[in-house]
Symmetry: C2
């Protein structure tokens, strides 16, 4: 398993913000409740999102979070790489200063590189907006039925 709750919760939080922020800020309490995620746990994930400048914050009354950019300007790769640290399928690819001694003639390394590429390209091909669109399409269908 590659994508932990950190990344999945972060993604759901950002989708929740996209849906509910309007012109203001969304209190974490509300997002946490809607998404059924521990608020305290989300509090720990958010600093990472802030480090990558993915959110805007205000404290105090009417405070909360909102997206720093438009939903179409976030790829899932952006969000998941930030929160998961890396999407590399093997440790050998996690850092640039690759310490694996076998690297030079490792028969399997090209395979992992290819897998890494496939994963990142897939996730960079989907934006938050894409998910919002599919969601409204799905909800629309419910009414038709």
């Amino acid at each position: 398993m590659m994508i932990s709750t950190r990344g999945r919760y972060a993604l759901r939080l950002m989708l929740d913000l996209a849906e509910y922020q309007g012109n203001g800020y969304v209190a974490l309490k509300d997002s946490a409740q809607r998404q059924d995620i521990s608020k305290k746990y989300l509090e720990q994930i958010i600093p990472t999102l802030n480090r990558f400048d993915l959110l805007r914050t205000t404290r105090g009354y009417q405070g909360g979070y909102r997206l720093a950019r438009a939903p179409k300007d976030y790829t899932l790769g952006d969000i998941l790489r930030a929160t998961e640290g890396s999407l590399a399928p093997v440790t050998c690819l996690e850092t640039d200063d690759n310490p694996c001694a076998r690297q030079a003639d490792c028969a399997t390394l090209p395979v992992w590189r290819g897998l890494n590429k496939v994963i990142n390209e897939y996730l960079d091909g989907i934006t938050l907006q894409d998910i919002l669109d599919q969601q409204t399409a799905r909800r629309g269908n419910d009414y038709v039925i």
Copy 2:
């Protein structure tokens, strides 16, 4: 990180067998030494490979392991799904009796399904033989230089 040492070591073991088995069996001691992997640890991984009928075994003098089929008849997906248990990128996809309550209108589930598909299709598109071929090509180039 998605593919642990279990899967990577299993893959390297099977490549080693492919290269060295000839008409006989390869002692684990020898594979372990060549690949610089703990023999004792490999011993624990092998039962899984046997459960999926990926190897042939003989005990005692001149005993060891060999591949059950031709290298072209193993995909990396076969080997890695066996040893890793699952290649699913999220827990939600690991079992068929999916216990996630949000499943029905989860906005992100289609994304994980797509990612899962991309990963499995990539790994099922590569056989042991493909890696052997690339390896000999690479070694060939070394002599040319």
